[in-house]
């Protein structure tokens, strides 16, 4: 994953870099390139000059030497386990024999097949977990990004009093252990807990949050009289896709899941606020000043100066958010373990439970790899959607 740096000067003037003509003019941008003396980037790249080539080889050897500890650590503790898990996902492994010794039965893509194409409990559980997680991502990512951006804009105000106190307060949930926060939320959202007591003061009878498997969209549809949530019927209940009826697909996140969404937004927006804040403070003052001179209002300033400048950081925040929300595990492990009614089941938790509770390690690994593929695809899609467009629509001012 590469995050584009806005400042061209940050690009290391390496010998294999693009010719200087391709670089945008660096004049005026802060931090002049610290080009090593002598080897100017203007040199023709193809000129066969022996001392230069020799030095290049030397440099690369040293380079490899310097990165070798990290390459080794990553290879040994990241790449190797990933490849081993990929192999296990093709086996029917009982968790005891040597998975590389040939005793474990090789089943090819069977584990993937039972998750994706064969009608049965495995697929139903997996598809249910995907549905739950999709709703979770769909709500959590925009909410946490929006809240983080608003918080960052607020605490970036130069005239705001007690700025650092506010920054600390907003950032605080992020440094707290997610297990501890989840446990506190369990108490807050009990049927007779603090949240429902608060709601009762304004005359609202709160639901039994963590025990409520009803989807919020189905409640909405029920309130509108479209379907009866207790006895769904009609085309929604008759048609099904991948083992779940349309009604189940459309019923939305359950009340219990919404509580977890709330928790996730509350804990992560502080982290992302910090990232946005750093980016906001990086926006050159001159830009804002000249915009102010042109007579731009606060909203116009936000729309045409601040947000475009934040685009790379926005991509970073959205990507980090997307990845971490698809991998949600600890809150689910503490708060529901899939209950009520499998509505808080997520692929990450399902992978864990099929491996350790059902001793089906192959399937657990297969779920993890499908999840990985999904995250990669979605990140690529998002990268494409947020790409820098060269030709911007002209604005009339």
């Amino acid at each position: 994953m590469s995050f584009r740096t806005t400042r061209s000067a940050r690009r290391a003037p390496s010998a294999s870099g693009p010719p200087a003509a391709a670089l945008p003019p660096s004049a005026g941008s802060p931090g002049a390139p610290d080009a090593p003396g002598g080897s100017g980037p203007t040199a023709a790249p193809r000129a066969p000059r022996t001392p230069r080539a020799g030095r290049r080889r030397d440099e690369s050897a040293w380079g490899w030497l310097f990165v070798s500890p990290m390459v080794l650590v990553l290879g040994l503790f990241l790449m190797l386990p990933i490849l081993m898990a990929l192999w296990v996902s093709l086996l029917h492994w009982d968790g005891r024999s040597n998975p590389f010794g040939g005793q474990a039965e090789f089943v090819g893509l069977d584990n993937y097949r039972s998750l994706l194409t064969e009608d049965g409990l495995d697929r139903t559980l997996f598809v249910t977990s995907l549905r739950n997680n999709a709703y979770y991502v769909l709500l959590t990512v925009p909410l946490q990004t929006g809240v983080a951006l608003v918080l960052a804009l607020v605490v970036n105000q130069r005239l705001l009093r007690a700025r650092s106190a506010l920054r600390t307060a907003f950032f605080f949930p992020s440094v707290t252990s997610s297990i501890a926060v989840s446990t506190v939320f369990l108490f807050l959202f009990q049927g007779s807990g603090a949240v429902n007591s608060l709601l009762s003061w304004i005359g609202v009878k709160g639901p039994n949050w963590f025990a409520d498997p009803r989807g919020v969209l189905s409640l909405l549809l029920g309130a509108l009289g479209v379907v009866d949530p207790d006895h769904p019927s009609g085309p929604l209940a008759d048609h099904s896709l991948l083992g779940l009826s349309w009604y189940q697909w459309l019923s939305g996140p359950s009340v219990a899941m919404c509580t977890i969404i709330l928790l996730a937004v509350w804990t992560t927006s502080g982290t992302f606020m910090l990232i946005f804040l750093a980016a906001l403070q990086d926006i050159p003052r001159e830009l804002e000043e000249s915009a102010a001179l042109e007579g731009a209002g606060r909203f116009q300033m936000l729309r045409h100066i601040t947000l475009p400048q934040l685009r790379p950081v926005l991509f970073l925040v959205l990507t980090l958010g997307l990845i971490s929300t698809w991998q949600v595990f600890d809150q689910v492990y503490v708060m529901g373990q899939g209950a009520p009614g499998n509505t808080t089941l997520t692929p990450a938790f399902l992978s864990y439970s099929s491996a350790f509770d059902d001793a089906d390690f192959g399937q657990g690994a297969a779920i993890a790899f499908i999840l990985l593929a999904l995250i990669l695809c979605l990140t690529a899609l998002q990268r494409w959607a947020l790409r820098e467009r060269d030709a911007r629509p002209g604005r009339t001012r």
């Binding site: 005891r96 024999s97 439970s353």
Partner: protein
């Protein structure tokens, strides 16, 4: 540039292959070499229900240490399934450990358990249902460390307030329905229990059905008897005389009973300790569950003492298990944390010592042991999930799903 990338990839692959080849943790040891020293060191891994149980097991291990000369270390697991799975995969399992009934078949199938049952001379003394549950491929793999059965707990104050007497203790389904209806009202629900087959299954049993046949080789979930049992539960749910624990904002039946939200609940003998600890002022009485159309029925639960097939101290480990599952030791455990002995001989003594536990002891005679089939954790988990919607779903639909899922898991396990 491309050649360099290719070279880097090649070097990485070579390094990875070398690392795989060198990793010794997956060594194949068909027969673990046995330690023959006179004094051996044993490790025990338990998943404890609380400090009382931890202390009781540690005390027992210390006593065994004195008697035998072997040393014993008792460890408490935080996440038993995960820790055991890791230990088996790493070929460093504890010598003796708790085996939960829902994991038993998974371990037995993988060959992680040492089948020591044949070497236990007085194995017949252990409850027959539990022995059946811990038998795999015709071999008794491990000894049940204790037993628990379900009975009906009644809040006596609420009982009297509703104008009921000792003669009204329900003995039939009709009787249960009647008293539950009388007890319901004013913030109290007649009967509260959790939405699990581990509780509601008693009604399937009382109607003459069960999830599988007796040798656990065939699914019998979609039988008319099972449907009849769940239909009865559904009728109670419909009238509001039975509620699930979560509906009354509690996590289990004992909590509902203690908080006065339930007049009756279906729980096992762990209830005694919990009530003593959390609700010492609530008076309650235990009676046997009412009989259904096919007679009496209840469920039994247990955990067994597993010995690792890859333990280097199998003889000493079995010796320790014999000590821990002896009648005297089981009675000590019963006293310490409220479990029932799994030996029939010790059960009689226990009944004399604990007259309040009579209902549970008497239920042991006709109790159904837990389902122990490999890969069934998710099948039964899904069944529990479906039972949550029993109020609005036809029991036949739920049971048909269980039948289908169970058959698939059985087919996959073969």
């Amino acid at each position: 540039m491309t050649t360099r990338t290719a070279a880097a990839a090649l070097v990485t692959c070579a390094a990875l292959l070398a690392a795989t080849g060198c990793s010794s943790s997956f060594g194949d040891s068909e027969k673990t070499k046995q330690d023959t020293a006179a004094k051996q060191h044993l490790t025990v891994l338990i998943a404890t229900s609380g400090d009382a149980e931890t202390k009781a097991v540690k005390d027992a291990a210390a006593a065994y240490q004195k008697e035998s000369g072997n040393t014993v270390t008792v460890d408490v697991a935080k996440d038993m399934n995960q820790q055991l799975a890791q230990a088996f995969a790493g070929h460093k399992p504890p010598d003796v450990f708790y085996v939960n009934s829902d994991q038993f078949a998974n371990y037995a199938k993988a060959g992680s358990l040492y089948a020591y049952g044949a070497g236990i001379k007085d194995a017949d003394d252990f409850s027959a249902q539990l022995r059946a549950s811990f038998t795999y491929d015709g071999k008794l793999m491990c000894l049940p460390k204790d037993s628990s059965t379900l009975a009906l707990a009644i809040n006596t104050d609420l009982w009297r307030k509703a104008g009921l007497t000792d003669r009204d203790y329900p003995t039939t389904w009709a009787g249960l329905k009647r008293v539950a209806g009388k007890l319901t009202g004013g913030g109290v629900t007649g009967l509260v229990t959790t939405n699990e087959y581990q509780r509601l299954g008693v009604f399937m049993k009382q109607a003459g059905g069960w999830v599988t046949d007796a040798p656990q080789t065939k699914m019998t979930a979609d039988s008319a008897q099972n449907a009849q049992g769940l239909d009865f539960v559904r009728s109670l749910l419909g009238s509001g005389d039975l509620k699930y624990a979560q509906q009354v904002d509690t996590s289990w039946g004992g909590e509902a009973l203690g908080k006065g939200k339930a007049a009756m609940t279906i729980e096992g003998n762990w209830l005694t300790g919990a009530m003593k600890l959390d609700y010492p002022d609530v008076k309650y009485k235990m009676v046997e569950l009412p009989a259904g159309p096919a007679g009496k029925g209840t469920l039994a639960f247990s955990t067994c003492w597993g010995v690792a097939a890859e333990s280097a101290h199998r003889t000493a480990a079995v010796d320790l298990v014999k000590y821990l599952s002896s009648a005297g030791q089981q009675l000590k455990f019963a006293d310490a944390f409220g479990v029932m002995p799994s030996r029939t001989s010790a059960l009689t003594t226990y009944a004399q010592q604990e007259p309040d536990a009579k209902a549970w002891v008497d239920s042991a005679a006709y109790a159904q042991g837990p389902v122990t089939i490999a890969g069934f954790d998710k099948v039964l988990g899904q069944f529990n999930t479906d039972l949550q919607t029993l109020r609005t779903t036809d029991p036949k639909t739920i049971l048909a799903a269980l039948q289908r899922n169970g058959e698939q898991a059985l087919a996959k396990g073969d």
